[in-house]
C-alpha cells in the first residue's frame, strides 16, 4: 500500500468510528428523538466544506500571483470535494427538516445561502469544464472561486444576522451536553481528515490528468544551433 492508500483506509476507519460514536455513544435527544443524530454529520460536513472552499480561495489567489499550476490543482480538488460535502449538508439538513419542520425546505437565510453556496461552486466546476483548459480556465475559475468565497461567511453568520427558521449557534454557546459535544468534536475531526484525504487524492488525479494533457508542463528551453543560422543562443 502506498501512502495515499494507507491514508484513505485510515480516513474510512475514522469515519466508521465516528459513526459508532454517533449511534452508540451520543445520547438520544429528548425533544427530537433519534433524528437529532443527523446533527453530527450535518454540521461537520458543512465545516469541512468551508475548509475545502478555503482551499479553493487560497489556491486561486496563489495561482493568480505565482502562476503555479500546483496551486490551481489544489483549488480544483478543493472545489469538487467541497461541493460533495455541501451536498451532504444539504441532503442531511433536508431529511432532518422533513422530520422536524414537516417540509423538506423552507426559505430562510441559512438554507438559501447554503443552496447558493452549492450553486456557486457548481458554477465554478462548470467554468472549468467549459473554458479552454490550461491557464485560461485556471485564471477565470480562480476569480470565480475568490468571489464565491464571499458566501461562506454569509452562510455561517446567517443565523445571527437574520431571523431564521434554522436553529442558531448551539456549539459555541455551550448548549450541548458534554457527551454530545464530545461526539460532535470527534465527528468533526474525522470528517475534516476525510476531506483532507479526498482532496489529496483528487489532487493526485488532477496532476495525472494535467500530465496526460501536458497542459502546463514546466517551461523548458531548448537551444539548438542549426546550420544556416536559424537560431542562435539567447542574448
Amino acid at each position: 500500500m502506498n501512502r495515499l492508500e494507507k491514508a484513505s483506509v485510515g480516513a474510512v476507519a475514522l469515519m466508521l468510528l465516528a459513526g459508532a460514536a454517533i449511534f452508540f455513544y451520543a445520547p438520544t435527544d429528548f425533544l427530537q428523538g433519534p433524528v437529532q443524530r443527523i446533527f453530527y454529520l450535518h454540521v461537520s460536513s458543512a465545516i469541512a466544506a468551508y475548509g475545502c472552499f478555503a482551499v479553493v480561495l487560497l489556491g486561486g489567489a496563489i495561482f493568480l500571483r505565482t502562476e503555479n499550476y500546483a496551486a490551481d490543482r489544489w483549488a480544483r480538488a478543493g472545489a469538487l470535494v467541497g461541493v460533495v460535502f455541501t451536498t451532504v449538508t444539504l441532503v442531511m439538513g433536508m431529511l432532518w427538516a422533513k422530520k422536524v419542520w414537516g417540509a423538506f425546505w423552507v426559505w430562510d437565510a441559512r438554507l438559501t445561502s447554503t443552496l447558493v453556496l452549492w450553486i456557486i461552486y457548481a458554477g465554478y466546476l462548470l467554468v472549468r469544464r467549459l473554458s479552454e483548459p490550461g491557464r485560461q480556465a485556471a485564471r477565470l475559475a480562480a476569480v470565480v472561486g475568490i468571489f464565491g468565497f464571499v458566501d461562506v461567511p454569509v452562510v455561517h453568520f446567517s443565523v445571527t444576522w437574520w431571523v431564521t427558521h434554522h436553529p442558531g449557534p448551539v456549539i459555541i454557546n455551550d448548549a450541548l451536553p458534554a457527551q454530545m459535544l464530545a461526539t460532535f468534536l470527534f465527528t468533526m475531526f474525522c470528517t475534516i481528515v476525510l476531506a483532507a484525504v479526498m482532496i489529496t487524492i483528487r489532487y493526485r488525479i488532477e496532476t495525472l490528468m494535467d500530465m496526460k494533457q501536458l497542459i502546463a508542463g514546466p517551461v523548458h528551453v531548448v537551444i539548438t544551433r542549426e546550420p544556416g543560422g536559424v537560431a542562435g543562443p539567447v542574448q
Binding site: V116, G123, L130, S131, L140, I146, G148
Partner: protein
C-alpha cells in the same frame, strides 16, 4: 498610457454602436414591460398586496434585463472577435472593462427609467425619490459584478447560459437589500436607511473587488 482615455473611448464606442443600431434600449424597455405583464398574469394582484409583490417583479425583471444587457456587451465583442483586437492594444484591461461596465450601466439605467414609472402605473404603487435612489445604488454594484462575469463567460463556451449561473448568486445581496429598500420606499414596514447603508457597503466592496479582478479576467 492614459487609462481614462481608453475607458471613455470604450464606453463611447459601445454607446455609439448602440445608438446606431438601436439594438438594446427599445427592446430592453419593452421586454421589461412585458415581464410586468406576465407577472400580472401569474399572480392575482390587488391594491392590498401590490406593495409586497411589485418589488419582486421589479427585481425579477431587472435581473433578467441586466443579464441580457451584460451578456450582450461582451458576446458582441466575441462574435466579432474584436475582443482579441482590443486586448492586443496596450490599453489596460481594467480600463477596457470599466468602459464596458459604464456603457452597460447606462443602458440598464435607461431601462430602469422605463421600468419604475411603468411599475407604479401598472400596480398603483407609490413612486418616490427614495425608490429611485435604492434602485440606482443596487444598479452600481450589480453592473460591476455583471460586467466582470460577462467578461469571464465571454471567454467560455455557452456564455448565455453560464452568465446567470455565476452572476445571480452574487447579485442576491443587492436583490435582498434593494428589495428591502424598495419595499420600505413603497410603504411596507422595514428600515429604509439600514437597507441603503447595506447597499452602499456592498457597492464599495464589489466595485473594489471587481476592479482588482478585472486584470486577471481580461488579460491574455
Amino acid at each position: 498610457m492614459n487609462p481614462f482615455r481608453a475607458a471613455i473611448a470604450v464606453a463611447r464606442k459601445d454607446l455609439v454602436s448602440e445608438w446606431r443600431t438601436r439594438e438594446m434600449v427599445p427592446a430592453l424597455a419593452q421586454f421589461v414591460v412585458l415581464a410586468l405583464l406576465i407577472g400580472n398574469f401569474g399572480f392575482q394582484i390587488d391594491s392590498r398586496n401590490a406593495p409586497s409583490i411589485a418589488p419582486g417583479i421589479l427585481w425579477l425583471a431587472l435581473v433578467f434585463a441586466g443579464l441580457i444587457a451584460f451578456g450582450r456587451t461582451f458576446a458582441a465583442e466575441r462574435e466579432q472577435s474584436s475582443l482579441e483586437a482590443m486586448l492586443m492594444t496596450p490599453a489596460s484591461p481594467v480600463a477596457i472593462f470599466a468602459g464596458k461596465a459604464i456603457a452597460a450601466s447606462v443602458l440598464l439605467i435607461l431601462c430602469e427609467v422605463v421600468m419604475l414609472p411603468a411599475l407604479s402605473l401598472f400596480f398603483g404603487t407609490p413612486f418616490s425619490g427614495d425608490l429611485v435612489i435604492a434602485v440606482l445604488l443596487a444598479t452600481i454594484g450589480m453592473a460591476s459584478l455583471g460586467c466582470l462575469f460577462a467578461a469571464i463567460v465571454a471567454r467560455v463556451r455557452a456564455r448565455e447560459l453560464l452568465l446567470p449561473l455565476l452572476t445571480l448568486p452574487l447579485w442576491i445581496p443587492f436583490i435582498v437589500a434593494g428589495g428591502q429598500a424598495v419595499q420600505s420606499a413603497m410603504g411596507l414596514p422595514g428600515s429604509y436607511d439600514q437597507a441603503i447603508g447595506l447597499l452602499i457597503d456592498f457597492d464599495i466592496l464589489f466595485v473594489v473587488l471587481t476592479s482588482l479582478a478585472a486584470r486577471f479576467v481580461l488579460d491574455e
